[in-house]
Symmetry: D2
Subunit: 356 residues, 4 copies
Amino acid sequence: MSFNTFGRVFRFTTWGESHGPALGAVVDGCPPGLALSEGDIQPFLDKRRPGQSRFTTQRQEPDQVRILSGVFEGRTTGTPIALHIDNVDQRSKDYSEVAKAYRPGHADYAYDAKYGFRDYRGGGRSSARETAARVAAGAVARLVIPEVTILAWVEAIGGDAIDPANFDAAEIGNNPFFCPDAEAAKRWEALVDGARKAGSSLGAVIACEASGVPAGWGAPLYAKLDSELAAACMSINAVKGVEIGDGFAAAALTGERNADAMRPGNDGRPVFLANHAGGIAGGISTGQPVRVRVAFKPTSSILTPVETVTREGEATEIMTKGRHDPCVGIRGVPVVEAMVALVLADQKLLHRAQTG
Amino acid sequence: MSFNTFGRVFRFTTWGESHGPALGAVVDGCPPGLALSEGDIQPFLDKRRPGQSRFTTQRQEPDQVRILSGVFEGRTTGTPIALHIDNVDQRSKDYSEVAKAYRPGHADYAYDAKYGFRDYRGGGRSSARETAARVAAGAVARLVIPEVTILAWVEAIGGDAIDPANFDAAEIGNNPFFCPDAEAAKRWEALVDGARKAGSSLGAVIACEASGVPAGWGAPLYAKLDSELAAACMSINAVKGVEIGDGFAAAALTGERNADAMRPGNDGRPVFLANHAGGIAGGISTGQPVRVRVAFKPTSSILTPVETVTREGEATEIMTKGRHDPCVGIRGVPVVEAMVALVLADQKLLHRAQTG
Amino acid sequence: MSFNTFGRVFRFTTWGESHGPALGAVVDGCPPGLALSEGDIQPFLDKRRPGQSRFTTQRQEPDQVRILSGVFEGRTTGTPIALHIDNVDQRSKDYSEVAKAYRPGHADYAYDAKYGFRDYRGGGRSSARETAARVAAGAVARLVIPEVTILAWVEAIGGDAIDPANFDAAEIGNNPFFCPDAEAAKRWEALVDGARKAGSSLGAVIACEASGVPAGWGAPLYAKLDSELAAACMSINAVKGVEIGDGFAAAALTGERNADAMRPGNDGRPVFLANHAGGIAGGISTGQPVRVRVAFKPTSSILTPVETVTREGEATEIMTKGRHDPCVGIRGVPVVEAMVALVLADQKLLHRAQTG
Amino acid sequence: MSFNTFGRVFRFTTWGESHGPALGAVVDGCPPGLALSEGDIQPFLDKRRPGQSRFTTQRQEPDQVRILSGVFEGRTTGTPIALHIDNVDQRSKDYSEVAKAYRPGHADYAYDAKYGFRDYRGGGRSSARETAARVAAGAVARLVIPEVTILAWVEAIGGDAIDPANFDAAEIGNNPFFCPDAEAAKRWEALVDGARKAGSSLGAVIACEASGVPAGWGAPLYAKLDSELAAACMSINAVKGVEIGDGFAAAALTGERNADAMRPGNDGRPVFLANHAGGIAGGISTGQPVRVRVAFKPTSSILTPVETVTREGEATEIMTKGRHDPCVGIRGVPVVEAMVALVLADQKLLHRAQTG
């Protein structure tokens, strides 16, 4: 089956393949009256855009978004917002090898097993290029939750993590790695360059924090805020793990160590003395920052030959030439931010539905 | 908002509170003609049942399930299957303290922030008691996927992990910890006893493997098999992290190390030389075992007093007396199995919808 | 497939067969803090209850509802509300004939064609007995929309219609036909008696009006208020047609005759000079009374023998003995009211989601 | 709220306004491997296209569809199919009157009441122009159900009905009214001309028959085949009533008259002696032709001045100049066919999900 719609009341549907003429998203359920123009979306696409440094794929896509519906006189009307992005640089190349043999780690074999058939040009629908549509939709979602600030960064590449003591949010935009630790950014330059030159690739861990989420968003039991965030992040290409708050580390703590004690705050709301829970209890936000961590596997496209089989089931070797991100996790930063924004916008509206 | 239905075509809805008269599930979309009786469900509930060892809560619940609809002459009819479990041991106790103050780590404050109001008896709807309904529904799901074998176990408690070299599936049923490593089980006895006696609690990591899943199940992009598994597991009480395959460890690998190379197999299907991906690529099953890991935080109910606030916003301390699991992750084993079964049944039917 | 959940944010799921031990509904998404007890639901079930006059089936069902979850200290908690009704009078009888041959007009053949199998006792899941669960859920929905008054009545039986000039809402409760025209009620007594004695049956038309619906509820384009009402009413057993406002009569009007002209009202809202549209324009409520008409076919169970086939495909005749409503439309009145209430509650919450 | 997605497993989402740059649909859940090109869609759009006779609006829209995704080498891939139609003839005109005052019968007032704001150019999102996207999606749906033949026609205009004795399917394409009765078509020419010249408008009744639907499609209880058809048809602009089979006429029949008796057929399936039920029993198809009737109100845009109010609540009069269909029901024929195709495709896939 194919399900390309995400969300419950604030919903978006994406479409498009890596090498088709265009890709896009339809955002439905957006409240009316919000100021919206292409200028609100483009900066986020620019952040995700390929070809901006030697550490990302060299495909050149301007990723200019056009709004085709749902906005009148500069404001959302409450009707579906169609976002359209043309594909420009679908470089004509020889895909006969990919058509014939399955690239390990890619969706090639699984798609063929499912559909008996696949668009093999650049991965077709399974290409990370689809995430441009998510980022565009996410920019609309941000307008629905102006009270929330969402910030993501790369926490580790290839197992080399930042030093939390060096964390500086202002650094994130200063290097091509969305790295908040200037020293780590320097190390990663060598690390990623090495992988790129070796035809190898690296995994990454991304952290995201949403501050300003009021207590009370979330929907027990099967649309819990953490459950929706997990689904949203795990749906991103190359993601293999999701943690809320302390995540797996919490499994090694005692109950005392993991308790987020509370004290009375000045505004009538409690002040929490810790945030092991990542801002979510019982699937509902607590008013603390919502914290998510996401694991990206290394890019599956590598220049090292790997054993594989052909469509006909014969043994062969494949190495994936072409333009690829040596560390696909890096460009995952704006995508994770977008997915978090989309979940929060949906949960805000859901909360409003039931509680007025 | 409240969303208590899970699934897309094979769906279930649960209801019930910790201290209400009963709890249950309605399973909808189950194929007709499957042999089903209470005897197919009860063993799974028995596996989850509290009070079976000193390492779990001492609440005594027989958890006898009754099928109230959807079965005729021993077979499913294709119409909704109502599963009903009476609550028996809702021990009358004094909840005035819990009613007044928020237990850190629990959903108390978040529910109040959302609904302005909560059923404070034993956690109400946010109690892990609700998972009995999931386990019952999961037993029905298993009948939909007879080709699949699902097995979960505890991999670590309080940071003390099993030795993979000692893994013996036959051991899992031989100890109260669902532990596949006899030596670790012995260590955990002391560990959990210690925590219990100290009024403390411990977290745990659960691993689950589903073998027999054919290649092709899954639904790009927003109902990917891994995305649905992540949502399903993250919706379980106390869960803070989900990994597919190597999960966060994959983020530290190179592309070569993470590649699941393929060779031709005897039956025309490829043989994979590794399973870093956990049996899922591009959101679709590859035919390898599906592997999931889930992190449970330590039980939030502890006997150590913790700072907190009252409903009126005043400072106080709370310690949670009463009957609790010292390590809530242990009884999570049958719940994780159930959620995996429910996702796979849904994805099997979805796959059939589109591809005939 | 089987879909037994209705609604988008205010949702309910029903379960149960005619001759199973019980039936029920789970209401999910109900706002918290509403006063709710069995006493709020029972009167609506009593209105629908069989066996109250010789004009309805003689099956004796007390239809006592129990609330099993979702209410604490007399108020809804925002979590799922389980409603449970025991079946009491599943008279033991010989179903061998119905098991063997298909009753024309009933779902027997269609269910077998779909599921290869059916619970033939009293129609199983396709029995109108299921509507008790809807009526119970509808009673909860009414609490969500206290601003709305919903009133339904029988407008015609067997083609014999009321005289609009005689309409008196107070009469509706004074006769066993929910008839607002005292003279028509007298005629229907003879009419329905005649059909009953002849072993025949009659169809009916039900009208329903919801007043107090504010302008603005509804959700273009595929969850329009009228579209949702049509789906809700057409899902009731024996219904074959649904009209909004003037319905089919509007198709014979000119644009001038059909125009609902407006004048300024005292409260800033327009006063409409007519209501051909039935209170809905563009799928959104206008603030006028919402008007729906529903056609019920005659009860398919009749004592006249009708040609049919057996499960094995052989020719036979069948006449449906047992206890049946001579005019199933009569007891449809509380069911239509319930479905209208359920749609309006859902749309009210949806509207609130998007517009705050 | 806004819901612009229809369907459960075969789903489509439409977007676009009357006077925006384009409109379109995203079809999701379509099975893979179907041959599909623009040439499969264009003929249906051409059938619906405005400006083809003096009996429809004179707006000139080529309605050329482009497929932007989901098709590779001429076949569907199982991923979302984006259909794009440019708006060409958004004639620049003065909308100041419509912006200021509410057109009776239109969605103007309701949209403003809901959203506080509306795109008033040509009705914006509430324009019947959106139905072009439905027709395009419906053409894809037809490919999913090659066993089914769908045929719709106009049965009555302004209360003047065809004579069933004159019914000739071959006539439907021979006149601008989709009329199967050559004599009625002649009468309607004068009738519609008269209305057009008088600045008036007329309603219409459309009938649709789907033959070849096998027994067993449909999903009790809240996604019944008839319930889904009712929702689908009632969501079309200007529709006020939907009937299945005999519809309201059935309400005047006795049980004997309404019974669709069966006899053994040659192929093991029963032969029905009548089809009062319109091919659906218990919400499931019986294998007989599925019959639907739909009532369209007269076009609300008329040249006769009608009393109304301004946005500021002041009394005024309005007459709707511009290009309009004198009988919007006529062009409803391909739209009804499309919606029926979309429902049947969805139900076919749903059926397959549960029953293999």
